[in-house]
Assembly symmetry: C2
Homo-oligomer: 390 residues x 2
């Protein structure tokens, strides 16, 4: 297949590109490198240094014999995206080219509007460029399990759900309630995609993915092939951040009661799941939702898992409790359906308890680099205060 | 009260400003005049010529003795809006400063992203500027009945609704499904406002208004005080467009079966309703939804009403049927709740059948001006085709 990967320089975009190349697909990467810039903006950096794209592509060629094509540009620039789509005419487009930090979106008005308008306009541009150049292609869009929030009902894996309201039946879009402007940008995207599916008959897989952790996939066999790894309070996600904290000797930063439950998966499992969804598209004109996670775990369970893995490596780390800077339910029902990926043959390879030891070991060589950003780990961005009003 | 009206140069913004001034309030208008520009962009113009803002303000002073303050600027510019809010510290902010055309938003990618990002970022900027300068003020936000679409349940007048999903009960946001990017921008706004209300405790009235028609309010007593009046296929709404068609001898442009039902109200009733909502704010920290319309009518009923009114004035007009360029249900349930406005003492003054005669008469003097834009009336913008792919 011919696959365009929008956001090919990112934490998932790079390993997925390698996996698709390893599976014999033609891969065309697109990125504007803005995540590298936005992470530096908040005074942080990838824990693991990553080469420039041209060096990554050369390393993939030298080490694995992969030929990856790449276009540098911003998909919020319609003419750029339209030109790429017209030139490449892919079978599938993977859309990871969105900014992806909840805390970043909550800093102030500028970061809120940037996150919302960047993500929404990129997706709208993709919709129109597909419609104008290649309406039969499959769009694989990265959403998030965070779109659902923590509802009291079992989260269905479908675009629509049947309900009864004041005695009358109807089919409504699956209810969502996000917890940050970033997560809302993904809800708005989902609504926009549903509308594009209805009116323009485009084909979508909208992936509701839980937080991903890990440093490796089968193809990441050399440090020149590493993917970025964020760990600060703005760009890092919880498991990866806890592993860095273990290496740096910082008590693990549990927010609130630690009883918040989410669905997690490893980088290897994410890349496996994504490949299955790309290689097994839905019917033409269909909108498919895929919930994507492996284990439902609470923050406390994760902290204990990381603590034990560190201990096995001779690292003693404590668990620190922080007032929750976010607005989220401490205790809640959480039971998301997951049928699409198992139906395609998805078999998770590793559980978190098996993987965190290796993850911590992979980080040890970068301890000095990470320690330079030590002061960017503790929670600072507060959901109820804007930076401008502090 | 001190009231800031964002979008004070618009079809509703100007008459509402006059009404608030007449009721003794301090009014500070804000506008960037972009609607004047965007209407010209599609080759059209207001049927009724309108003076420049400084001349409008002078006329309001000369004729009624009103003192209106005004700031020119764009609320998507955060520094501008923040400065105005900090300087004025109003009791209420009326937010009409959004682009408001469904067909305009469906022209192509550029117009879709403009409509979505302009509307969303203006509202986010308003949220943050209130939070930083004036968190206790009341934000009166113009939404649309179009946010609901045409559900099979009775449309509730509330932010949240109780449902049972797969045997479990929850309270969800009132389900919505819009029919254009413009209408989706308002759904996204509503979700963003609900989140701001939950996290930041700001006070909102979110108005779900049906299409407004008419040329007059009590204060519009002179042609220097006229409000704009759009009638082309992009910027005009159905009743106003039918009245212009009557004057120009164009068969009334009914789209599809004409059985689509919506809730309509006159300009005078809209201004009355808005004044009531402003003068009777909800509790601090509350999010209030107000459904705002007077009569539920089908397009066919409206066409017949306009045809009869024209006939009484000696104008014979026929009804023309057009393939529906939009994607919307032809026959559907439609039963929206309306309790908030009646609870505040709202009493509609005129029904459509009483008002359309006067409306047509008000347009007759501008027949020559309107006829210059004759070719911009028939439906052209098609929901299923982008302009770039025609």
């Amino acid at each position: 297949m011919k696959v365009v990967v929008l956001g090919a320089d990112g934490y998932l975009g790079w390993p997925l590109s390698l996996r698709l190349l390893a599976r014999g697909h033609d891969v065309i990467g697109v990125d504007n490198f803005v995540t590298r810039k936005n992470v530096k903006e908040v005074g942080s950096d990838s824990a693991i240094p990553i080469p420039a794209m041209k060096d990554r592509i050369k390393a993939a060629k030298d080490i694995h014999g992969f030929n990856m094509k790449f276009h540098e540009g911003d998909i919020t620039d319609y003419e750029f995206l339209h030109k790429v789509m017209k030139e490449e005419k892919p079978d599938a487009v993977v859309h990871f080219a969105e900014t992806r930090s909840a805390p970043y979106s909550m800093i102030n008005a500028k970061h809120a509007t940037y996150t919302l308008t960047n993500n929404i306009s990129g997706t709208i541009n993709l919709i129109y460029s597909m419609m104008e150049t290649n309406p039969s292609a499959h769009v694989v869009k990265m959403g998030t399990m965070g779109e659902y929030g923590t509802p009291n009902f079992d989260i269905p894996e479908s675009a629509y759900v049947d309900v009864e309201i004041k005695g009358r039946k109807d089919r409504i879009t699956t209810p969502k309630f996000a917890g940050s402007w970033y997560h809302w940008s993904k809800v708005h995207d989902t609504n926009n995609i549903l509308f594009a599916n209805k009116v323009l008959k485009l084909t979508f897989t909208d992936i509701m993915q839980g937080p991903v952790y890990g440093t490796r996939t089968k193809e990441i066999t050399d440090e020149k092939l590493h993917t970025r790894f964020d760990f600060d309070e703005v760009w890092g996600t919880v498991v990866n951040r806890f592993c860095v904290e273990s290496v740096l000797g910082i008590p693990l930063t549990v927010y609130g009661s630690g009883q918040q439950v989410r669905g997690y998966l490893s980088l290897e499992d994410s890349v496996q799941a994504l490949s299955l969804l790309i290689e097994n598209p839905p019917e033409h004109g269909e909108y498919r939702v895929a919930n994507q996670f492996v284990e439902l775990l609470s923050i406390n369970q994760i902290a204990e898992t990381v603590q034990k893995a560190a201990k096995r490596l001779g690292i003693e780390v404590t668990i620190g409790k922080h007032e929750n800077p976010r607005v989220e339910a401490d205790r809640h029902h959480y039971n998301p359906e997951i049928k699409v990926l198992p139906g395609l043959g998805f078999k998770p390879k590793l559980k978190m308890a098996d993987l965190t030891g290796q993850l911590i070991q992979d980080l040890v060589p970068y301890k000095e680099h990470m320690s330079r950003f030590h002061n960017r780990i503790l929670p600072y961005t507060n959901w109820r205060k804007t930076e401008n009003a502090r």
